[in-house]
Each structure stands twice: as C-alpha cells, then as structure tokens.
C-alpha cells in the first residue's frame, strides 16, 4: 500500500462549478453521505465529486504500480531466500492493489486505457516519494516499513470514505497489507541491531528518505485550505497535518528505540499542543520533483512504458473482434 492521496489535490480554481448542479439532487446526495450511507456507481453525484475521486483513486493506482518499482529492483538481490520470497510477494501485492484501484476508478467513467496513457505520458501524478532511488537494500527496507506505514495511516482513514468501490478496494488492500508493515519493520530492525556496517547502512538510508517521508502527506493545512467541501463529502477523511502528526506519534518512538536517529534537529513533540514540530520541508523542491525534475522520474515512466509497449503485441493477439467495453459494476 503506497497511496498518499492527499498529496496532489485539485488546484483551488477547480473547486467550483457547484452552482451548476441541480440543488435538489445535490441536497439528496449530501443527505445520503450525512446518514453514513455510501455512494455507489449508479447514483447521481456532483461533477466535482466524480472528478476529484477519479483523480485521487487514479493517482493512488499509479502510486501502487510505480511504487512497486524501487522495491522490485531489490528482488533479485534480497539477502536470503525467505526475504526474496517475501519481497516478491509484497511487490505482487502492490501491483494487485493497482489493479483493484484502476477498477474502482473505472466505475467513475475513466477507462483503464485512458489512465495508463496518462501515466506513461507523464500527465498523471503518483506519490512523489517514488521519484527517489533505492541505492541500497536498506533503502528498500525504509520504503517497506515507513512509506507503507504512512500509506496505512492515509488508507485506514480513506476506507471510511463515502465511495463504495473505493472502500471495497481499500478494505481488501488493508487486509493484504497486514504483513507488509511487519515485514518492513523486521527488515529495518535486523539491520539497525546488526553489525556496525549494517547499522551505518540503515542510518544512511533513513537520512536519505526522511525529507521525502515528511512530504508524503502533502503540504501543511495552512497551505491547502480548500479541502472543506472534500471533507464534507467524505472524499478526504483527515487533513494532511492530522495524518502526518499521527504518523510521527506512531513511528518516531519505534525508530528511536532501535538506536537510529532522525536527521532533523528541530523534530520534537510539543506536549502542550500534542503537535509535532519539525523543520518545514522544502516545498519548492517537492514541486520541482513532482513536476518531472527528480532523480528517477524519467526512469519510472520509461520502465512502465517499456512494459506497456513490450506487451502490446500479446494484447493485440488476444483481443477478440466481438469484444465490447462495459464499465465494471462495482
């Protein structure tokens, strides 16, 4: 599970257009959500709800499929047979999660062909952390543990959202995910409590990944204020800062207890407010990387695209002339 759905919200200019919706249908739609009922594909929904959900679920799907690459890199070099099997099973899960999420997004009207075209042409975003490399096995472990942990914070919240197909996909994803976090924790603990060389390798990997981890939940709430309607419609279930704070609460103690340090001298919990304080991430750098200028953007897209192109003849050969496209049901 890799989704950080809150990272790339619609620009504020897009959060309009409600005045064009039928007020009665809109009121019924909101009443259903207020009653705690889920929205299903056959229901009327505001164009903005459809647009934002499509965008969010599609980005989550892309994050799963692209996120499997930096860990997939290490399958052939994972230390030991058991870890190789586990790493492979985890990566297979992530690719499966992409399939589940593409299907959930498809129920909203965007075809898988359109989503994959947008991905390989760099038009759609995915979680920005995967634009960074995994130069060592320890880097792969940091993803398995802490990126997955961050994603779980997000996904457990989103599984309580309002759109039925997304909830069903997330329930299955969370169930499959249970072992990922333990597997990642186990791998990190093994290195951090190992030989001096192993400890050093793990500490360096953590130092490399920490700035990216701090951006994982997206910009501070102060910087992205237009989420009110998305919260009301239960598209977004927790703010970026709430998710980040919860993550820090849960994982900073686990990182420190195995003798690792965090590369931010300002990181501390304010016991009065209950909020973590930290050095503000470099959001300009974040923007630069997410817009294409990161260390691995080109590689991620190129690899995905090569897979698409190399498989094209197989898909053409299998296509039956009488096939017809019907949107998946749920």
């Amino acid at each position: 599970m890799y989704g950080s759905a809150s990272t790339h919200d619609l620009p504020t200019t897009a959060l309009t257009g409600l005045e064009n919706e039928d007020p009665i249908l809109l009121a019924e739609f909101e009443a259903r959500i207020n009653r705690g009922e889920k929205i299903e594909p056959g229901d009327w929904m505001p164009a903005l709800y459809r647009k934002q959900l499509t965008r969010m679920i599609e980005q989550h799907a892309h994050s799963e499929i692209i996120g499997s690459l930096p860990e997939g890199t290490w399958i052939t070099r994972a230390p030991g047979f058991r870890r190789k099997m586990a790493q492979m099973a985890k990566v297979q899960d992530e690719v499966g999660h992409a399939q589940l999420l593409y299907s959930a997004a498809e129920t909203l009207g965007k075809t898988r062909e359109e989503m994959l075209t947008d991905l390989i042409n760099g038009k759609s975003k995915y979680s920005n952390v995967f634009n960074y490399p995994t130069p060592t096995w320890a880097d792969s472990n940091v993803i398995s543990w802490l990126i997955d942990a961050g994603a779980i914070v997000n996904q457990l919240a989103n599984a309580k959202g309002s759109y039925g197909p997304y909830c069903r996909a997330l329930d299955r994803i969370c169930a499959e995910e249970a072992f990922h976090l333990k597997y990642g924790h186990d791998a990190v603990v093994h290195m951090a409590t190992g030989t001096p060389i192993q400890r050093k390798m793990m500490q360096e990997a953590l130092n490399r990944w920490w700035p990216a981890i701090m951006t994982f939940f997206g910009p501070s709430d102060k910087m992205s204020v237009h989420t009110e309607i998305l919260m009301r419609w239960k598209v977004k279930m927790a703010s970026n800062d709430e998710c980040r704070n919860q993550f820090l609460d849960m994982y900073v103690p686990k990182i420190l207890e195995i003798g690792l340090t965090l590369p931010d001298a300002n990181l501390r919990k304010n016991e009065e407010t209950g909020q973590w304080e930290f050095t503000e991430p470099d959001w300009e750098d974040f923007k630069r990387v997410i817009n294409g200028d990161g260390p691995c953007n080109a590689e991620r897209i190129a690899v995905r695209r090569a897979a698409e192109e190399n498989g094209a003849w197989v898909r053409r050969a299998l296509l039956t002339p009488k096939a017809q496209y019907v949107r998946p049901l749920a």
């Binding site: 299903e40 994959l116 169930a175 924790h185 590689e299 299998l318 096939a323 019907v326 949107r327």
Partner: protein, 231 residues
C-alpha cells in the same frame, strides 16, 4: 539512456526522453468480467471485484491470482460484466425490488416462481426449459459499501423476468440495496477438482504478519545496549 540502480533496467537501453506515446486504443485492456469467491465450504459466493481479460478462461486465471492469492478460498466464479442485469440502487433501509416496473396481475401470475429447490425430474421445469426458460443467478447487496452476495437461482425467459421472479422468491429478504441477475450459463465456475489450486496458500508463511517476531530482537537489543542508546 536511462541509468538505473537496477542492472535489468540498464540492459533495456531505455531512451531518456521518448516521444509522447500514442493514446491506447479501445479495448487495449480488454473487456471486464466480475468475480465472486467462496471463502469456505458451504458459504455463499460473494462479489470480490472485476478483472480485465480477453476471454473467460483468462478471466478465471486472473481472478484466481487477484482475489484468491492471499487468503483461504474454496470456489471462484467469473461472468462477463455485460451479462449482468443491474437494478437501481436504493437507500440502506429500502428494498431494490420496489424499483422494478410493476406487473399486471396476469403478468404476476405468469412469473409465479417454482417453489423450493428445482430437481431434474420436475416435469414442469423440464417443459419450461424446453420452452426457452433458463436459470439465472441472483445476487443481493444488503448495505451500500459492502459486497453483493449470491442468494440463489431462479428460472426465467429473460433478465427482466428473472428479476421479477426473484422479487417473489426472495420477498422475505430485506433490506436489499441492489440486485444483480445473470444467466447461469454465462458463468465460468471452479469445480471440486479445481480445489488444489488453493492448497498451498497457507504454506506461504512469509506473507503472514504473525511470522515476523521482531519484538524479541528489539528487546535483546535494548538489553545489550542499555537505555542510553536512544539518546
């Protein structure tokens, strides 16, 4: 050329800045099938989700991998999405069959359901099949956000009639938020002989969270290093 930490990527010799890829054509990803699984012997089949596949055998294979790879499973069905007839969705406290068109008394009498389970030597049933009636599988969604569940079969001459028959047969089941009906002949189903495709699932312990006993190692580490380590 793309330079990666992964030697396999480097061997592909991928260009740095490829031209924009052409938009994928319609059906590049095939049509969809809907998949249902059975968690254990005797349990009803429950909807798990769609797969994209060029035909039913491949759909079954993909569904097996996608939906029964990780957890216990004793049966799997796939059916083309287009083969399913869907009612309107209604509220969580309502009954989806109420949204079907109302029948005249005469029509209602004509769709009177065969009571109880059908059997092969039922002469009325034989005559009905001979006259073009077929079995339909019926699925109910009991609550929005949950999954459709198989409730049984009915015999009818069209999907619309199948829903009307189901309305009478399953009249005691409430609430029902949504109903799916599909011709039984359109399903590809696992049979008992297929069970062994799932026998190795529990052996793959490295996929169980419980296999990772990390706390022991943390405690040992803390004991060895003392509390000063974290400072």
């Amino acid at each position: 050329m793309i330079q990666s930490h992964d030697p396999r990527m480097n061997r592909l010799g991928l260009p740095d800045a490829p031209a924009t890829a052409a938009a994928k054509g319609a059906l590049d990803q095939f049509g969809t099938y809907e998949a249902f699984h059975q968690k254990k012997e005797g349990a009803p089949f429950v909807y798990v989700g769609p797969v994209h596949a060029p035909e039913a055998d491949v759909a079954f294979l993909f569904a097996k991998e996608q939906y029964s790879r990780r957890f216990a499973c004793t049966g799997l069905w796939v059916v083309p999405t287009a083969a399913i007839t869907v009612t309107d969705y209604v509220g969580d406290q309502e009954w989806a069959y109420d949204s079907l068109p109302l029948l005249t008394n005469q029509q209602a009498a004509a769709t009177a359901p065969p009571a109880g389970p059908r059997s092969g030597d039922d002469t009325a049933a034989e005559a009905a099949y001979a006259a073009g009636e077929e079995d339909y599988d019926i699925f109910h969604l009991k609550k929005r956000g949950k999954a459709h569940q198989h409730v049984g079969k009915v015999r009818a001459s069209s999907p619309a009639q199948a829903l009307q028959v189901a309305k009478a047969v399953f009249s005691d089941q409430r609430p029902v938020v949504n109903v799916w009906a599909a011709r039984s002949a359109d399903f590809l189903r696992s049979d008992d002989g297929d069970r062994d495709i799932w026998t190795t699932t529990p052996e793959k312990k490295y996929r169980d969270a419980i296999s990772y006993k990390v706390q022991d190692r943390i405690e040992r580490f803390k004991a060895e290093t003392g509390t000063s380590q974290a400072d």
